[in-house]
Symmetry: C2
Subunit: 361 residues, 2 copies
């Protein structure tokens, strides 16, 4: 690993500290290096708060003069919630800036680099760019496609079932897989399930770590059928719940939810009474949701695949054979020629389960 890679990797670690709190902003980490040593660090801690670069510059003070700044994303060059980072970098007398990847936001996207260079600062960018984009895949997705990054999670038996014939799915996978899922919830802005799964399992959709960041918990409920007694509506984290409904939903009912602190978001329905999912995800994007972790069920998973809204799939394959059971997807029927294709990105053993992560292409 080169020096540049080493320090950029550190910016990734710092960026992760802000995970969950910065959306729709990206997570960003910055380190300032002088004479082969890190003299200060910073990260974007909260949406609206100071940027990583500014935090690191403040911590370095006068020592930033002639030093090198590392950052995982191109510094901003416009006045948003905070002044442009490029100005702060120039003012601090930084000699060189090493950037993992350019900012896809059209208001930056190379303009930050230009601003720094025209002030006589040496700029290097494009090192570990893939990892940097992966780190902020939700932010990149939202800027590029105007919708959140969608990760679809499935816990399956070897023969492709998500529950047995009695409907039982607790637990197909082992504890390590379930822990991994809990961590993934904290890696996304929102966790999403269909109404069927809500009725069946009454899940809390919380990460294990209740003290840390709690993602939005979303359920698709076309006609606001969800009873108030369910965990998502009644537990202590209910203000983190968003009910996704159809645009014709009963206004009195919406007010009842609002009175309980539950947000309701409405999207147009199609001619069959189902929510138009691409439209719903466009709306979620406008709300600043950069990433969604969908945990089923089969109807929602099938519809998301059909409408090409899935970016990543996480399969937990349990070493079990059922023969019959509930299938992973419904409402989807392809032939071998039209099958949806996945490109594997990771294969990992989690106790006796296998985790397969792949990208939909």
């Amino acid at each position: 690993m080169s020096e540049h890679e080493k320090y950029l990797k550190r910016t990734f670690e710092l960026a992760e500290k802000g995970r969950g709190y910065t959306s729709p902003n990206p997570v960003v980490g910055a380190v300032i290096v002088r004479d082969g040593a890190i003299i200060s660090e910073g990260w974007h801690q909260l949406f609206g708060a100071e940027h990583a670069e500014v935090m690191a510059l403040k911590a370095a003070g006068e020592r930033a003069r002639s030093a090198t700044l590392y950052v995982n994303l191109e510094p901003c060059c416009f006045h948003g919630k905070t002044p442009p980072c490029t100005d702060a970098i120039i003012e601090a007398g930084i000699a060189e800036v090493v950037i993992a990847t350019l900012d896809p936001n059209p208001r930056v996207n190379g303009a930050g680099v230009q601003r720094l260079e025209s002030a006589g600062i040496k700029v290097v960018h494009g090192i570990t760019a893939d990892q940097a984009r992966q780190l902020n895949r939700g932010f990149f997705k939202l800027v590029t496609d105007k919708r959140p990054w969608m990760t679809l999670k499935l816990a399956l038996t070897i023969d492709g079932f998500i529950a047995d014939v009695t409907g039982k799915s607790k637990w197909i996978t082992g504890e390590l897989s379930r822990n991994f899922v809990h961590q993934q919830r904290q890696q996304h802005d929102a966790v999403l399930v269909g109404l069927g799964t809500l009725f069946k399992d009454d899940p809390t959709l919380l990460p294990d770590d209740h003290a840390g960041y709690i993602p939005y918990r979303m359920v698709i409920d076309e006609d606001l059928h969800i009873p108030f007694r369910m965990n998502l509506i009644s537990d202590q984290f209910h203000t983190r719940t968003i009910v996704l409904t159809g645009s014709g939903a009963n206004q009195a009912k919406i007010r009842e939810f609002a009175a309980r602190g539950i947000k309701v978001v409405a999207a147009p329905k199609d001619e069959f009474g189902w929510i138009n999912l691409p439209e719903l995800f466009r709306i979620l994007g406008e709300m600043g949701v950069t990433s969604v972790y969908c945990e089923g069920g089969s109807q929602l998973a099938g519809s998301l695949l059909m409408t090409k809204l899935v970016d990543e799939i996480q399969l937990f394959i349990a070493p079990k054979i059922l023969g019959e059971g509930l299938r992973a997807f419904s409402g989807l029927m392809q032939t071998l020629d039209t099958a949806l294709q996945v490109r594997w990105e990771e294969v990992r053993q989690l106790e006796s389960d296998l985790l397969l992560r792949g990208r939909l292409s």
Copy 2:
């Protein structure tokens, strides 16, 4: 790796040269080492032919005196098709014998070691024993359970389908996976399919390498419905085909098959007219078949799992999603509490497919 392990590993390689030709005998390799160098090698080449130890001893001649013999399986100590290897070893003046694993055959099983020791030869055994048993898992299975080792192969989509809704299964998996299957055919004494698969695909069940060992090709055909025009009956390797039928099968039809060089093996049927699979496999064991590679279809695969006849499962998971299609197993229905359990032994990427190998427990 120790010296002992190094030379035993060489015996495994030599043993593999006999693969396919030695059943129901095991594959065996032997090396003779003197002053830190291999002076001769041998392997069991063909059922009934001389044993690996004898081949190596002959090649070493007088130089075998005071040398060390390595062999993957305990030398035999009884008169079978050939005289006992223990006598040949003692006569040659071997000073030390290093054995990977004891022979499970009750006529040997430690008696070979005793015979050598009582002649003043130093014997070491139990090094790399697991690999040695894996090398001859068919032989061990047959000796221990009186039936062949059964490997079940499945090519599946992510969502667990072996064909799309039109019945098409060519090709779910990629070329590398299919090559692997061809190699596996040569690693087993027999390849087996159900009649449905035969009618649908008219497969040859041959390995790519037609010049090498050709396994038995078996099809289960309760009532001898298979037409003579099918590849298994009519191609140049038809004498390697065995039709497995019910014990009440038409004798005239059996003679017709025999006249074409096709062997028919009959096993008792159950009250529903299906062949009693445990009984069939006991009969195959008696015939000296030590291992079977089953390639489907879903009916046969389900029945084999139901009757607990599957030892190993090889899953080729293609990176495809169909939504609907033909399921992997039929006639099998378990709940999560009674699900069949697999213990993963290997996970490997084959181009864009994943190969998961596991042991049924």
